[in-house]
Symmetry: C2
Subunit: 189 residues, 2 copies
C-alpha cells in the first residue's frame, strides 16, 4: 500500500515501523540481529566498554560514526572507586530502557500518544555466593519495576493492557525472566 | 587475625576483600544489597537513565556524589537515532563488566596477577516477536563470550579453572542464564 505521508507519533516513525513489520513478514532474515559489546579491564573493579557495530540480516550496520563508551566500576563497599555503575545496575537500566522503547513504539502503532514514560527499577541481590560462600544465587533474587505513564488520548485500561503486552514481548525482560544459553571461552595471551 | 599491612593485587584491595568475606560470615545482612536504576523517556526510542544510590545491609549508601547518567537509543534500522546503545547491547556490556570484576577479584584473592582481561560479547536476537509476529523468543537466543587474559605468574590450567569458577558465580551470568522473577506495575499519571 503506497504511503504518501510519513506518520510520526511519540517520536516514532510509524510508517517505517509498519514497513519494517512487512519486511520481516516477507523475509525472516530482516528480523535477525547479532549485537556486540567489548570490555577492557583497567584496574581493580574498573572496566571500560564499547558498543559499536552490529550485524543485521547478515550484513554489518554502518550507521554509527563512533563507538559508545561505557565505564563500569563498583562502589567502595564492593572494592571499587565509583567510576561507573556496576554490572547489575546496568542490567536494571537496560530493563527500563527496553520497557520504555516497547511501550512508546507499541503505543505509537496503536494511536496512543504518550507524554510521559518513566521507570524505576530495583533488584535484590546477595553477594555471599559471589564471595565464595554459601548463600542465595549469585544474581538478583527479585526485580521490581514501577512505570509511570501519561497519555492524553488513552483510557486506563488501554494503558494497562499495553503494559502487559510490553512485558510479554520485551527482549530484556525475556532475557532476565527466562534462561538464555551463554557460552564462554578463554584465550590465554 | 590482625592485618598490619594492606595487600593490593590487580588494583583489588585483598585485605578489604578478606575482611568483607569475614563480615558476611558474621552477619548475613552484610551481603545484601538492593540496587536501583531510573529511566526517563525523551522522544522516540531515546531514553536517559540514572544510576545513583543503593541499599546495603538495610542502609542507604552515600558514597556517590552524583548519579551516573546513561543514554539509551536504537539505531535507525530500529527506528532510533543512535544516541546511545540499545537495551540488549547494555546487557551484553554488563556481562563483560561482571565477568571482568569476578575474574580480577578472584585472581587477586588467589595470588594470580592479571595484566590483561578483555571480553568480546555477542548475542543473537530476532525482533519479529517484539514486532508482534510469530518468531523466536523476544530476547537473545544465544550469547557468546570470548575472554582474553594475560598473567605473568599463573599456569594455563589455573587461568582456565578460574574462568569456570567465575562463570559459576557471576551475578550477571546467573541473571541471564537462569530465570529471575520480575514484577512490573504501572501508575497512570
Amino acid at each position: 500500500m503506497p504511503q504518501t505521508e510519513t506518520i510520526v507519533r511519540n517520536g516514532i516513525n510509524v510508517t517505517q515501523l509498519l514497513q519494517t513489520i512487512e519486511a520481516t513478514k516477507a523475509d525472516d532474515a530482516v528480523g535477525t540481529f547479532t549485537f556486540r559489546a567489548a570490555s577492557t579491564w583497567k584496574e581493580g573493579t574498573y572496566n571500560v566498554g564499547t558498543v559499536d557495530g552490529f550485524t543485521h540480516a547478515g550484513s554489518e550496520d554502518a550507521t554509527r560514526s563512533a563507538p559508545f563508551v561505557l565505564e563500569g566500576d563498583e562502589p567502595p563497599v564492593l572494592l571499587g572507586g565509583n567510576r561507573g555503575p556496576n554490572a547489575v545496575e546496568l542490567v536494571l537500566q537496560a530493563l527500563g530502557f527496553c520497557y520504555a522503547v516497547g511501550y512508546v513504539a507499541n503505543a505509537a502503532a496503536r494511536g496512543i500518544e504518550v507524554t510521559r514514560m518513566d521507570y524505576e527499577i530495583e533488584g535484590d541481590i546477595d553477594v555471599r555466593n559471589f564471595l565464595g560462600q554459601d548463600g542465595p544465587r549469585p544474581g538478583f533474587t527479585q526485580i521490581r519495576v514501577k512505570g509511570t505513564v501519561s497519555s492524553p488520548n488513552a483510557t486506563p485500561s488501554q494503558l494497562t493492557e499495553l503494559c502487559e503486552y510490553v512485558q510479554a514481548t520485551s527482549p530484556v525482560r525475556d532475557i532476565i525472566a527466562n534462561p538464555v544459553p551463554v557460552t564462554t571461552s578463554l584465550e590465554i595471551a
